[in-house]
């Protein structure tokens, strides 16, 4: 990356003028505290990640998957981070930074509620008042997460405009920030948004690949042939890739949500997937130039995925750049494959993954499973690291519903759960 926050043509700072001073202030704090460890910020952060967050997370050899795919499969266990996903790495970093900056209030947006719960936890831990914006529809779909945020003392503000999902929640949080910019920090939940967010969030999440790289060398004695991570906004992806980017021999796969199909209904402004790297085009959204799902006019399309955490029309600019330059490969896995992978990992390894995470495993099956087509041209090599970005407890209700709808054949008999939990 360059210091101005661009990654090739991507990145930048496309935000209302009212926010620019705050973004400059943030950029300054990012450079001082994060990049230069002023006041011992990074030491403080790493200690809290360890003691509060539960780091380092293990790099686990997955015995039964290794057998199935006839290669060594290692799992980076971000599902074991406090809160159940990698999201805390970032939330804790940003809330702590806000504290160092003297901010007195936190706002955040959330879709599936994972970033919201992570932020709420970090705010309770650091004694910061916190308000979280969440689309009304998402609130109804993710009630346990809403409840967790409230338990942690955060306020959850329903966003009723539009479809009431993540997109609207982001806009609404930006508005709050634009109004209260002087004492408030906006904790963005992925490697998206205006500079310095994409770089800063990546830096907070890089602990994933820093650990994994050390661990794989210790445990196996060499670098992996491939690293696989799901990609929504791309924060677990960039976190899992960052330290490996200079290792040319390690291939990086970003697995997007293929949804029900890659075909786009441009007329209706609807993409039945969230594959912005695969099917999107260059544009400007939420503060950055990146790859987007948009119609011919540049209106942002509704994205779709069985996993709400991947259900976003954009993607981090740095990841888009890595893909454009060929350093990373964008692939995708559809809803059915992801659900099947969700069940497979639960059964074979005793790890119930988030539906987001399940996409990464769906890709493994796609290219190395018993039914892999000849045309599956990915060569994963002999040593693969998959990032288990989160656990699936939040997804139990969706798993029931979607498994029925799709009739996933390896799923257990769940007749008693037809009515939900």
């Amino acid at each position: 990356m360059s210091v101005d926050g661009t990654f090739g043509d991507y990145g930048g700072q496309y935000v209302p003028e009212a926010l620019m001073p705050a973004i400059e202030e943030l950029n300054d704090a990012y450079e001082r505290y994060v990049l230069n460890n002023e006041g011992g910020f990074m030491d403080d952060f790493r200690e809290r990640l360890r003691d509060f967050g539960g780091r380092p997370t293990p790099l686990q050899r997955a015995g039964r998957l290794s057998e199935r795919y006839d290669c060594e499969v290692y799992l980076k266990r971000e599902d074991l981070v406090h809160g159940g996903a990698h999201k805390l790495n970032n939330a804790l970093g940003q809330v702590l930074l806000a504290k160092y900056m003297g901010k007195e209030r936190i706002v955040a947006e959330t879709g599936a509620g994972q970033h919201g719960t992570a932020t709420a936890m970090a705010c309770a831990h650091l004694d910061m008042p916190c308000e979280i914006y969440m689309g009304e529809r998402d609130i109804n779909r993710q009630r346990p997460n809403v409840f967790r945020m409230k338990l942690n003392g955060s306020e959850v503000n329903p966003v009723t405009v539009g479809r009431g999902t993540l997109k609207e929640a982001i806009s609404e949080t930006m508005r709050d920030w634009a109004t209260n910019v002087e004492d408030t920090h906006y904790v963005i939940g992925s490697v998206v948004g205006p500079h310095p967010f994409p770089s800063m969030v990546r830096d907070f999440q890089s602990v994933i690949s820093e650990e994994a790289r050390t661990q794989v060398r210790e445990q196996v004695g060499r670098l992996p042939d491939a690293v696989i991570a799901c990609a929504g906004g791309g924060s677990n992806t960039m976190g899992a890739f960052a330290a490996f980017v200079p290792d040319d021999e390690t291939r990086l796969y970003a697995v997007e949500a293929g949804g029900s199909t890659l075909e786009v209904d441009s007329e209706a402004g609807v993409a039945p997937n969230s594959a912005s790297l695969t099917t999107g085009s260059e544009g400007i959204l939420h503060g950055a130039r990146t790859r987007l799902l948009q119609d011919d006019d540049g209106q942002i399309m509704e994205s779709h995925s069985v996993s709400s955490g991947l259900d976003y029309a954009g993607v981090g600019p740095e990841l888009a750049h890595l893909v454009d330059t060929g350093r990373a490969t964008a692939v995708n896995v559809g809803d059915d494959e992801a659900l099947t992978a969700f069940h497979r990992l639960s059964q074979l390894e005793g790890i119930i993954p988030a539906l987001e995470t399940a996409h990464a495993f769906g890709y493994l099956e796609q290219v190395a499973g018993p039914d892999a087509t000849e045309s599956a041209d990915a060569d994963l090599g002999e040593l693969v690291v998959v990032n288990v970005s989160g656990r699936g407890d939040k997804d139990l209700e969706s798993a029931i519903e979607e498994t029925y709808e799709r009739d996933i054949d390896i799923a257990p008999n769940m007749d008693e759960f037809t009515g939900g939990l």
């Binding site: 930048g12 700072q13 496309y14 935000v15 209302p16 003028e17 009212a18 620019m20 001073p21 705050a22 400059e24 405009v161 539009g162 997109k167 982001i170 806009s171 930006m174 508005r175 634009a178 109004t179 209260n180 910019v181 002087e182 402004g269 260059e282 544009g283 400007i284 959204l285 939420h286 503060g287 987007l292 948009q294 011919d296 006019d297 540049g298 209106q299 942002i300």
Partner: protein
């Protein structure tokens, strides 16, 4: 008539409406009513699906307009179909400008805008740092590029913006997003003070809702007032109640006139300033 000229004859009244809200024909009528009400410049919104700088009022206008099929090509038709003589400023988000035409980049959009008679742009998500390509296209086709100055904009940032701005500077009256308010914020006066030294008309916007309000703003030193949400509210109410377009247009004209007169009244009460024309 260029944008700056609109400020020559007393304070400029600059109303905003979203093009196509709630429908194509009614929207034409409403925009034309603005001119009858005394508009000196009209800011015409081209709706974008993610209007992050807007409050709920304009957001809902955007939704209504989009649902009615508004697109950039339709917007240009709309401008062509409009029967107004005051200058038009297109207010939209950068992605629509960037994506228009065959090649990414702002040039095709600006070229087309110039062709249909648009005089300038306000792009709320395009800070000065990212504005070079659009600035160049505007220069090429002779359009103005209006920038917003926020209460938080100071020092170097302010200089950078003021170097790029043309037409007028949009002085954001207070922090937050668009939306009707009733009091004059302290932030407004101090922004105007900071801008005093720059030689470009200063139009204050964000939250102006009445003639009295307009009067006070101009009295504090504004060269113009920008009014959006208060007018959009009329459109929304009319839409919700199913009122006919003519009635709604009359209401718009009435509020416009009140605002325009308020602005003029404010100007007359102002101590004469040698450096202001």
């Amino acid at each position: 008539m260029s944008l700056e000229d609109a400020f020559a004859d007393g304070p400029a009244f600059i109303p905003y409406l979203a093009a196509g809200d709630p429908g194509y024909e009614s929207s034409l009528a409403y925009v034309e009513a603005l001119e009858r009400g005394g508009a000196d410049i009209i800011e015409l919104g081209l709706p974008f699906s993610e209007p992050v700088a807007e409050g709920p009022t304009i957001q809902n206008a955007v939704v209504r307009s989009l649902e009615n099929g508004m697109t950039p090509p339709r917007f240009f038709e709309f401008v062509e179909d409009l029967d107004v003589s005051v200058p038009l400023v297109c207010m939209t988000y950068y992605n629509l400008i960037y994506r228009y035409g065959d090649d990414p980049g702002p040039r095709p959009f600006v070229e087309k805008a110039a062709a249909v008679g648009i005089e300038g742009f306000v792009v709320p998500d395009l800070p000065a740092e990212e504005a070079d390509p659009l600035r160049e296209a505007c220069d090429e086709f002779g359009l103005d590029l209006v920038f917003i100055v926020a209460p938080t904009t100071r020092g170097e940032r302010l200089d950078r913006i003021m170097e790029q701005v043309s037409g007028y500077v949009y002085v954001q009256a207070r922090l937050g997003t668009t939306g009707a308010q009733t009091s004059v914020s302290d932030q407004t006066s101090s922004s105007l003070d900071r801008l005093g030294e720059y030689d470009v008309p200063k139009a204050v916007g964000f939250g102006i809702s009445s003639g009295d309000h307009a009067e006070r703003i101009v009295r504090s030193g504004a060269d113009g007032i920008i009014v959006g949400s208060a007018l959009v509210d009329i459109v929304a109410t009319g839409y919700e109640h199913g009122d006919d377009a003519e009635t709604v247009a009359d209401r718009i004209e009435t509020l416009a006139r009140e605002l325009d007169e308020g602005a003029r009244a404010g100007a007359s009460q102002r101590p004469p300033h040698p450096e202001r024309t």
